[in-house]
């Protein structure tokens, strides 16, 4: 080929790949535009403060589902985060021979397990023995999904903490556990928070594992061993129902959900940008 031809190919490929990149993010813009277009009108104070209304009655909201989602994600974080962060520290710091390798591999395996299968697991683990759908079962399912993400990100961040910091602390005669809790973890804090937020953003939108664990609820939940509403579940139920005003509510719910997820994702990014560079 002549140089001119090669240069033309170069420019064409640059444009083609740019088009591909555009096509990847185009659906995001389309979906966000449609959410604003369809859902914004139904997002009002009532939406955040009222229970769903029966079919045919105007108004109503998803207050129970929003609170339910917060409760579920909060409980899941309560179960998953301590185990996940400690597990990450274990992978990064331990000098055991085989177990860390196995745990690292299994965490990656768990990360690839479809969330609906995690739902079945939580069903057999919690719902069957308790003989009822419950908020607790939903939280267990979400915690299992969070765990591998938190373990692996915590591990990578803890590995970044310079050995000189640990050595300095150990040289002062501080016991190992105190070094980890007071020196290593605080240094890695920003990065760990990022991993936690990524995990929270991921499970906040999960629907499949809640279908037969948290189950959903059209009213306020009274206790945590009873079925509980969740925003994604409510959106799903309303989307496949044949009523137009429910569809509008589903769009509004999706707008609120996606807003929550994006805020958490953005916060995760900002947390990294702030202090993370110092760790490196």
């Amino acid at each position: 080929m002549k140089p001119a031809g090669r240069r033309v190919v170069n420019v064409i490929m640059a444009w083609l790949t740019a088009l591909a990149a555009g096509a990847v993010i185009l659906p995001l813009l389309m979906i966000f535009g449609f959410l604003l277009f369809q859902g914004a009108s139904a997002v009002n104070v009532d939406f955040f403060t009222h229970l769903p209304k029966p079919v045919g009655e105007d108004g109503g909201g998803m207050a129970n589902a929003i609170v339910g989602s917060l409760v579920l994600v909060g409980m899941a974080a309560g179960i998953g985060l301590p185990i996940g962060i400690l597990g990450g520290v274990y992978l990064a710091e331990s000098r055991d021979r085989r177990l860390p390798w196995v745990v690292r591999f299994l965490a990656d395996v768990l990360n690839g397990v479809p969330s609906i299968v995690v739902g079945i697991f939580a069903y057999t683990l919690v719902v069957l023995p308790m003989r009822r759908f419950s908020a607790f079962a939903g939280a267990v399912a979400l915690a299992v999904i969070m765990l591998p993400i938190v373990v692996r990100t915590s591990e990578e961040i803890v590995r970044l903490v310079p050995s000189s910091l640990r050595e300095a602390a150990l040289a002062l005669g501080i016991p190992e556990w105190k070094v980890v809790l007071r020196v290593v973890l605080p240094t890695a804090r920003a990065g760990i928070i990022t991993g936690v937020m990524v995990a929270v953003a991921r499970v906040a939108g999960e629907t499949a594992p809640l279908l037969f664990t948290a189950f959903g609820n059209r009213f306020w939940h009274q206790r945590l061993d009873q079925p509980i509403a969740a925003l994604p579940l409510q959106i799903f139920a309303y989307a496949i129902a044949p009523y137009d005003d429910w569809h509008r509510q589903a769009w509004a719910g999706a707008l609120v959900l996606i807003g929550m997820v994006f805020v958490v994702s953005l916060a995760a990014r900002l947390a990294t940008r702030g202090r993370f560079s110092g760790v490196r």
Binding site: I25, I31, L106, I116
Partner: protein, 332 residues
């Protein structure tokens, strides 16, 4: 993208410095021993969870495994009333929708990764990479909602009639245009897995050592020729790994597919026809399963899905690691 940098630094520190914590037995007081036990317990929890998950799935699937044996994998009857269960329509629907998704997602995803890692001007890269991350963050149920109310009508009124007219001689594009069906599922899945393929491929490309690029450029290659000859060839196995990671996502994806695929347990060749996937049948029928055998058949489908996705993911990780490992070897 942070993780590749993170990895590099971590290993470099590990190489140049002695183990972080001295092993001296005298330093081990009670607090340390307890703390280590706690850490080990946290690590072991992951192990127990995965083992427990596998065991629970096998135990749950046992009645169906006993009742149907291998016939479960080759029968296409799904009749809860007569308690005849066969997984063929679901396996077929999962495979077809995932392959369709990859057909769309691979050129776009790899192309976008090449653009972001090699060809784009510097100022374009961070914002576009961030938007790609956001595409991955959109919850599945929102994609499903969009699929029902925007994509399906679009397919029904415009795309499917046009495809039927021009390519209708192929069995793939025959039948009435419902909107919902295999084609809609494939497109929604493609949108959902493409950011994963882009992100991982981009990391793989960024892990290719610069000496490769410099050598090609020094011989007078253009940017694209450099990418094609030096970078893509070097990162090939990693990109295949990225595609397999996307496949793993597509196979297990539940909500969006359930909302647009039409949920009819039939094996149809046409992409216009409604279908069913393994994940969606679990989502739809699990709470309605009235008999123990019915529930067990659904759990067996879950077990099948688990085995397939774990195999695909394991292969993908090995391939992605192989590029990372090669890069490390070159640097050392």
């Amino acid at each position: 993208m942070a993780s590749s940098a993170v990895h590099g630094v971590g290993t470099a520190a590990g190489l140049s410095l002695p183990p972080a914590v001295p092993t001296c037995a005298a330093h081990r007081n009670l607090g340390d021993r307890l703390f280590r036990l706690l850490l080990r317990a946290a690590g072991a929890t992951v192990l127990l969870l995965v083992v427990g998950l596998a065991v629970e799935m096998i135990v749950g699937a046992m009645p169906a495994l006993r009742a149907f044996g291998w016939r479960f994998l080759v029968t296409s009857v799904w009749d809860p009333v007569a308690e005849h269960f066969g997984a063929v329509p679901f396996v077929y629907g999962t495979l077809l929708s995932s392959l369709l998704a990859l057909l769309i997602a691979v050129p776009l995803g790899v192309g976008a990764a090449i653009y972001l890692a090699e060809l784009a001007p510097g100022w374009v890269r961070p914002p576009v990479a961030f938007l790609v991350e956001l595409v991955a963050a959109v919850p599945s149920v929102v994609y499903g909602l969009w699929g029902i109310f925007v994509l399906s009508p679009l397919l029904r009124t415009w795309v499917q009639p046009a495809l039927g007219k021009t390519l209708g001689f192929l069995p793939l594009f025959q039948g009435p245009p419902y909107g919902v069906g295999m084609l809609a599922a494939g497109i929604v899945l493609a949108i959902m897995v493409v950011p994963f393929i882009t992100a991982v491929s981009r990391e793989v490309l960024l892990a290719v050592p610069n000496s490769q690029r410099e050598a090609a450029l020094a011989l007078g290659a253009t940017r694209w020729e450099t990418t094609r000859l030096a970078v893509l060839r070097y990162g090939r196995s990693g990109i295949i790994g990225a595609i397999l990671l996307g496949l793993g996502r597509a196979l297990g994806e539940t909500m969006a597919v359930t909302m647009v695929i039409g949920n009819r347990p039939e094996v149809a060749l046409s992409l216009f026809a409604p279908g069913y996937t393994m994940a969606s049948v679990i989502a739809n029928e699990f709470t309605e399963a009235t008999s123990d055998l019915y529930l067990s058949a659904l759990i067996e489908i879950g077990l099948l899905l688990l085995v397939v996705t774990v195999a695909v993911n394991a292969l993908a990780r090995l391939l992605v690691w192989s590029v990372g490992g090669a890069v490390k070897a070159v640097r050392e």
